[in-house]
C-alpha cells in the first residue's frame, strides 16, 4: 500500500468530520471541547486583532504545544510581551525594565470545560450551534452561548472546521451590542520552533515582581450574597506590584470569571478612587470596606461586577 494511500484512508474519517458542517454532530458542547483541545494540542502562530468600542490592538500569539509554551507579543503602542509556560506566566515590560511573574501552581489544575464544568456552563448559558461562515479564509462553525439571565454576557465563538481553532470570539451584551472581539487575521498551524516562543528580552538588571500566590482562607471576609451561577473556585493571598499583600477570591460561571481583591488601605497618600472603569468586556469596580480597598475585576456586565463588590463584608472573626 502506498504511503499516500494510507494517508488518504486515514483522511477519510477526518474529512468527513471537518469537511462540511452538515456532517458535524449537532452538539455544541462537543464543539467547545474541540476548540479547547485544538487550543491546547496544536502548535500555531498567528496575528489577531483585539477590538473593543472604537479601539483595536494587534498582537501576535505563538504556541509550541510540545513544550506547553505560549508567547504573546502586543504589536501596537508600548512594547510588552507575555510568555506562559507550564509553571509561570511572565509579563515583560521593557520600557520600565520590569518582569511580572505569576506562578501557575494555583491555576494550572483549573481545566474549565471538563464534562463537569460543561454542566456548570449549561446551567448558565444556552449553548447551540450557529451558522457556518468564512472568516479570514477559514470555514468556521459558530458556537453560540446565550446567557440565561442578564448577569453575564453572551458569546459567539467561530471555530475553524478543519482544525477546531478559535478564529473569532465575540462578546455580546443583553441588548445585542458587540462589547469586544478577538479575530485572527492570519493563522498558521504547525511549523513552530522553540525560538519562536522564547522571550525577546534578557532580564538581567530588571526588577522582578513575583506574585508569590498561596492558597488561603480569609478570616472575616465573605460575600453576604453570591451572584446566581457564580461559584468560588480559588481563594488565595498574593503580592501585587512591588510588595503589596492582597487577598484574591475568584468566582466563575464556567466561562466568565470575576476576581475579588481585598487589601489593607495604606496610609493615604492620595484619596482612594472608588468607582467603575472598563476595558472591553472587563469591568473593574473599587470601593472601601472596613478600612480595606475592595477591587472587583470581572468579564461581566457592570451591574454584576458592582453586585460582587457591594456584597463584600467583613465580620470580626
Amino acid at each position: 500500500m502506498s504511503a499516500w494511500r494510507s494517508a488518504a484512508l486515514l483522511c477519510v474519517p477526518l474529512l468527513s468530520v471537518a469537511g462540511a458542517a452538515q456532517a458535524q454532530p449537532a452538539d455544541a458542547a462537543a464543539w467547545l471541547r474541540r476548540i479547547q483541545d485544538a487550543t491546547h494540542n496544536l502548535s500555531y502562530t498567528g496575528t489577531f486583532v483585539y477590538q473593543h468600542g472604537d479601539r483595536s490592538e494587534t498582537s501576535r500569539i505563538t504556541r509550541l504545544a510540545s513544550a506547553d509554551t505560549e508567547r504573546l507579543e502586543v504589536l501596537d503602542g508600548m512594547p510588552r510581551e507575555l510568555v506562559r509556560t507550564r509553571d509561570t506566566v511572565r509579563c515583560y515590560l521593557p520600557e520600565s525594565r520590569v518582569v511580572k511573574v505569576e506562578r501557575r501552581s494555583a491555576d494550572r489544575n483549573f481545566p474549565a470545560l471538563l464534562p463537569g464544568e460543561l454542566a456548570t456552563l449549561a446551567r448558565n448559558y444556552d449553548i447551540s450551534l450557529g451558522e457556518v461562515r468564512r472568516i479570514g479564509g477559514f470555514e468556521c462553525q459558530a458556537v453560540v452561548l446565550a446567557p440565561k439571565d442578564n448577569l453575564r454576557y453572551g458569546y459567539r465563538l467561530y471555530a475553524d472546521n478543519a482544525s477546531g481553532m478559535l478564529v473569532r470570539a465575540v462578546t455580546i451584551d443583553a441588548a445585542g451590542n458587540q462589547i469586544e472581539q478577538f479575530t485572527f487575521t492570519q493563522l498558521q498551524i504547525g511549523r513552530v520552533t522553540p525560538d519562536m516562543v522564547k522571550p525577546r528580552h534578557t532580564t538581567s538588571g530588571w526588577r522582578v515582581e513575583d506574585a508569590d500566590a498561596a492558597p488561603a482562607r480569609l478570616a472575616g471576609w465573605s460575600l453576604n450574597a453570591e451572584l446566581p451561577g457564580f461559584q468560588k473556585v480559588v481563594e488565595l493571598t498574593r503580592r501585587m506590584g512591588e510588595s503589596k499583600p492582597v487577598a484574591q477570591l475568584v468566582y466563575s460561571d464556567g466561562l466568565a470569571a470575576v476576581s475579588v481583591f481585598i487589601e489593607p488601605l495604606a496610609p493615604r497618600r492620595e484619596p482612594l478612587r472608588t468607582g467603575l472603569a472598563s476595558l472591553g468586556a472587563i469591568h473593574i469596580y473599587t470601593r472601601e470596606v472596613a478600612n480595606h480597598m475592595v477591587t472587583v475585576v470581572g468579564e461581566a456586565p457592570a451591574a454584576s461586577v458592582q453586585r460582587f463588590a457591594n456584597a463584600v463584608q467583613y465580620r470580626r472573626p
Partner: protein, 165 residues
Amino acid sequence: MKERISALMDGELEGRAAEETFDLLRGEGDAAATWRIYHLVSDAMHGQRLLSAGFAERVVAELASEPALLAPGALPGRTPIERFALAAAASIAAVALVGWLAFAPQPPSPAPVAQASAPGPAVVVLPHEANDYLLAHQGFSPRVTLQGMAPYVRTVAERPDESDK
C-alpha cells in the same frame, strides 16, 4: 468522478455512493490522483496539520508557495467595524495611539453605565495598578482554555505619562 470525490471530501456522500467512491480511490489511477490533489488544495486552504511523513512534505511544499498573510483588502463583505479592525491590523502606525488609552476616561459610551439599572456609579480612571489586577485575574479565566493567551492582551501596560493625565 471528480464531483463525487469532492462531495466525499465535503462529507456529502453517504452509504452506497460513498462506498463506490472509496472503491474508485482504492484502484489508484486518476481517482487517486484527484483525491490527492484535492487534499493538497484543502490542506493548503486550511493550513492543516498532516498525517504521514511523505504526505506532509508534499503539502508543506505546497503551503510554502502559498502566501500566508490574508490581505485585509481581499476579504469582501465585511462590516465597517470589521474593516476597521483589519485595516488597523495592517497599519501598526494607525493604531499605535490607542493601546492603553482605553483606560483613559471613556468617551460617551452606552456600554457600562447605561447597563446599570440603578443610578450608575462614578466612572473613574483605572488606578496605575489596574494592570496588576488584570494580570492576576486572567490566569483564572476559563476563556484561556478556549483561547490561549489572547485574553491577556487586556493586561497591558500604560505609559506613566499617559496614566497621569
